[in-house]
Amino acid sequence: MIIDVDLEENTDKKKIKFGISGFKDSRDIRLLTYNASFEDFLKNWLLKTPWKKFVLFSSIIISILSTSYFFFNNQIILYGDAESHLNIAKRVVHSLTPGLAQLGGIWLPLPHLVMVPFVSVDFLWRSGLAGSIVSGTSFVVSSYFLYRLAYLITKNKIASIVSFIVFALNPNILYMQSTPMTELPLIALFILSTYFFFKFLRNDRDLLSLIFAGAFGLAATLTRYDGWFLVCFEGIAIILYYIDKGWRANGQYILIYLKEKVFNLTYSSSSSVKTINKIKGKIEWVRILEGKFFLFATIAFAGILLWMLWDFLILGDPFYFSNSQFSARTQQQNWFARGELPAYKNIFLSFLYYFITSASNSGFIVFSVSAVGFFVYLFKEHKKEKFLFSLILLVPFIFYVITLYIGQSVIFIPQITPKSFEWTLFNVRYGMMMIPSVSIFLGYIFLKANKPTVKSFIIFLFVIQCLLYVIGYSKVLTLSDGIEGLSAAKRPDAELWMAKNYDYGLVLLDDYARTLSIIRSNLPMENIIYVGNKPYWDVSLKEPEKYATWIILQKDDAVWKAIYDDPVLRGRLFKYFKKAYTSPDILIFRRIT
């Protein structure tokens, strides 16, 4: 039997023939026949497609779709921190004591400042969309410049598109770009600074790129503390770059110079002096290094100095962000006291914790393939800047391993956290910071895979990874942390009660203890008295009736300790207020009218 159903499409240059002509001589079903010009057409199409525009528009669409999805599933403000970020920004404009001082001295200010115009609109604040706009925009910027960064490294559009796809379809990225968290703004600034920095390393006469790298580095230092590490490493990279450059150009002279300096303290002959002078002339690179380094450092490190100055002026301690009772370090000390800081002073566990966290955030299959790409890049690539590029791309990894080791941060991830711990899921979002690097190295290995079968295999693995997310085998860790992890915001009944019963008046509550959600309780931010409202806060803790109509206490929070634990103030509380709501942890008092 001969079946021959051919569809022919004839054009001048290309001829494509689809059809079934099975059981003929070869007994094979002919699926597709194409001539060389079709291959050329395909190649040309791939090369001529305006990929930059494609990246830009598709990332905008992806961002809107995923934000809508999480918005309609009521998952934008799952994290306790998410609401805190929104509230900090909100207090700058709407508070009993509005102003920049509401930015505080622990969390870095830039994401909150950027959010300010959006939180002014009450709907955007309460829905969390004010933060989604910032994170979503950061996602689009990240996607666009990740594509460009990948192209800078690979000089290949397809590899760069692969990097973009891996990044933009990562479900952890998609979730976090819908939330008011600060990870996406940092990722955007990390990519931007790295992009311009790599441009500078490729051509060190491109001063504008160096300035941009410094400027985005500055912004990163004012976004998350990870940014501080980034600019430090970029500074180190500049030094290493010029040492390497100088060594390549003048290595033999430097050796003579060192010999003279080390072995002959005084110059023995006039010829020697001449040599030294000659060498001094040759080592002009040192002066270039100084110039470039200080140009970069002046811009990039300014943010760190500004922040310390801010902490000093507002809070009286330039290291308030580290020394205060609200700092991450103090929180980690609590974990340590409970014996639940496993990676502290254990370099192997610090490495393991971050390794698994970043692998789980990237998707372990994607991460494994990318790891191969990294090693291929490191050992097979011939470009001289590969070590510096790798170093910068690994900055998040180094940063988190160090902070875990010194006890400045903590991660609980189910895979390795002991089951005896109270929580096994916390702060896993830190692993997201490696996703841009993972995406780039995956794009690179895709480029280096010279056989179509290997390329197809990489695509196949990526599809499998996506399927594992879809069927729920691989968890979207950042989302899980917001639902069932320690990062999840508490949702006590008290906030529902408050939402129904609050009518008017000022509310005294310890917002740092996250007694209840101001957003979900439907309370106006202007009516809140919290630790940042001086003098209202201090006065209210001594004379509770003076300003507040409502007092919300949670067991052992600052208000409880100050008022409820003090017999005198407790008497005063019951004199002026009546208990309107009681639960095992939370009490709500309303002023007797």
Binding site: D28, A36, T453, I471, Y473
Partner: protein, 506 residues
């Protein structure tokens, strides 16, 4: 010479399996199994062999897959309940395969021993397949191929599962044979029709043997799919074509799957419901829900069970550690010879083609699949039993390592030492018990939780070996029996490793 050498090795291999096969004379019924054959070391020390044998007895005696109450108690706790009938959680494939052996054994009054020999026969077939793949695909010398097969058979914990009624050796057979068939199908158009029919048949049969095989054999089916495509370049034209046999022969798969679905429908009321999905007899009896089958409580309980939920990425790290390094199940603790298999893979990295890639995918998938399983230990078991298919493939890569290392006495000595250690452990398991608790239980109850427990049984003369218990117990101690077998293995491996090349060249 090659033939003679092969015959000798295979005869000795059969002899070793015979010497260690579990069983007793006669045909024990449910009551007898419950009373006398459950306490380790015994032929029915664990529920997987009890379950499969119970299905077998039920098929023969009651012509039904559902178990009587007496047999359900034998298989407990791996029993599900549906419409008042009891079903073992295991697929019926292994029991069906053992049926002819059971009947044959009945003639000699040894139905149990003959039924258990099913796995041993598949193990011998696996040895042959390893030799075939090693020779034909990897082009290893014959002595290396023999050594690979011998390693899998007697230096891996696969031995312990070749002498009782488990699914692992049969699964391994389907994986290796399918791989070889696809390689052959890819290479030649000769016998394509039969080959492709068998490939599909193997896939469907493997699923009936053990449901996870549907996933474990996926790389092979992808290999089959890719192998059916061809791109031919002629001057300026390229043609992509598909061998139609892959589609035509798939009828075998669909037919078998249809029958499998019908079996599910008849027994469990739904085409998609597997025996493992049934509400458990154990929790139901513990919660006194057995008499309330029509109640909402019972229905609610049933719905809680989700097979897919047993596999999670969260378990991966712990699972990989358990399967590779843990003291209770670690591959490298029980069979360190497989370190050479990984070195073999490493030496192959630069020249990975599709065929090698598929073998590596089988290993990777096997590791990842069971590492993410809620119970990577495989319950009470001897060694990492879920990795037996990977052990077979890794044995071939041990051959790769030896082929790359060349005639190097240090390599041979190193290999021989690792082989000796691995073989000593494997024999210990085969001759005594598979009922080794998990470390967590061992720590809690102060039990030994690895081969040290087997050693205890060895010194106490406790074994479930049919041959030893029937013929040698009154003549020698178990330790002596162990030593005789061990020396035999070492002698054979020494011959293959150190003299194989010279002897076979002659």
């Amino acid at each position: 010479m090659k033939k003679l050498f092969t015959i000798i090795i295979f005869l000795f291999s059969i002899l070793l399996y015979l010497a260690t096969i579990k069983g007793i004379t006669g045909n024990p019924d449910g009551e007898y199994i419950k009373k006398y054959l459950k306490k380790p070391p015994a032929p029915f020390e664990l529920s997987p062999e009890r379950g499969r044998y119970a299905i077998l007895i039920s098929l023969v005696e009651n012509k039904s897959i559902s178990l009587s109450k007496e047999l359900a108690d034998v298989v407990y706790p791996d029993v599900g309940i549906y419409q008042g009938k009891y079903y073992a959680y295991f697929t019926p494939g292994v029991s069906i395969l053992a049926l002819p052996f059971y009947h044959l054994g009945k003639i000699f009054g040894l139905p149990l021993v003959f039924s258990f020999s099913t796995s041993a026969i598949f193990s011998v077939l696996n040895m042959a397949l390893i030799i075939l793949i090693s020779r034909k695909i990897f082009r290893h010398p014959f002595w290396i191929s023999l050594f690979s097969a011998f390693t899998f058979a007697f230096a891996s914990t696969a031995w312990s599962y070749a002498i009782t009624l488990y699914q692992h050796q049969i699964t391994t057979f389907f994986i290796l044979s399918t791989f070889y068939l696809i390689w052959y199908y890819r290479r030649s158009k000769k016998y394509s029709l039969i080959t492709s029919f068998f490939i599909w048949f193997n896939y469907a049969a493997a699923i009936i043997i053990d449901y996870p095989n549907a996933v474990l054999m996926l790389p092979l089916m992808i290999y089959f799919f890719i192998s059916s495509f061809k791109i031919i370049k002629k001057r300026n034209t390229s043609i992509i074509s598909l061998r139609p046999l892959i589609l035509a022969s798939s009828i075998v798969f669909f037919l078998m799957t249809f029958l499998h679905g019908y079996y599910n429908y008849v027994n469990f009321g739904d085409w998609k419901r597997l025996s493992g999905d049934l509400a458990g007899y154990k929790p139901l009896s513990e919660q006194n829900l057995l008499k309330k089958e029509d109640s909402g409580e019972f229905e609610e309980f049933k719905e809680e069970k989700q097979v897919a939920g047993y596999f999670k990425e969260d378990n991966l790290t712990n699972g990989l550690f358990t399967l590779l390094f843990s003291m209770d199940r670690g591959l490298f603790i029980y069979s360190p010879i497989y370190i050479l298999g990984f070195i073999g893979i490493f030496t192959q990295l630069k020249s990975i083609d599709l065929t090698i890639g598929i073998l590596l995918s089988i290993i990777s998938l096997n590791f990842l699949f069971y590492a993410s399983f809620i119970d990577p230990w495989g319950g009470w078991a001897f060694g990492p039993r879920y990795l037996i298919p990977s052990m077979a493939v890794l044995s071939i890569f041990i051959g790769r390592f030896l082929a790359r290392a060349g005639n190097n006495i240090i390599t041979f000595l190193f290999t021989f030492i690792l082989f000796s250690y691995s073989s000593a452990i494997s024999l210990l398991g085969a001759i005594t018990t598979n009922a080794i608790p998990l470390k967590i239980e061992g720590d809690l109850f102060h039990w030994k939780y690895n081969f040290l427990l087997n050693l205890e049984f060895l010194y106490k003369n406790q074994t479930s070996s049919y041959v030893f218990n029937t013929y040698f117990r009154s003549h020698m101690s178990l330790v002596n029996y162990y030593l005789i077998l061990f020396i035999l293995i070492l002698t054979l491996s020494y011959f293959i490793l150190f003299l194989g090349e010279r002897v076979l060249k002659k």
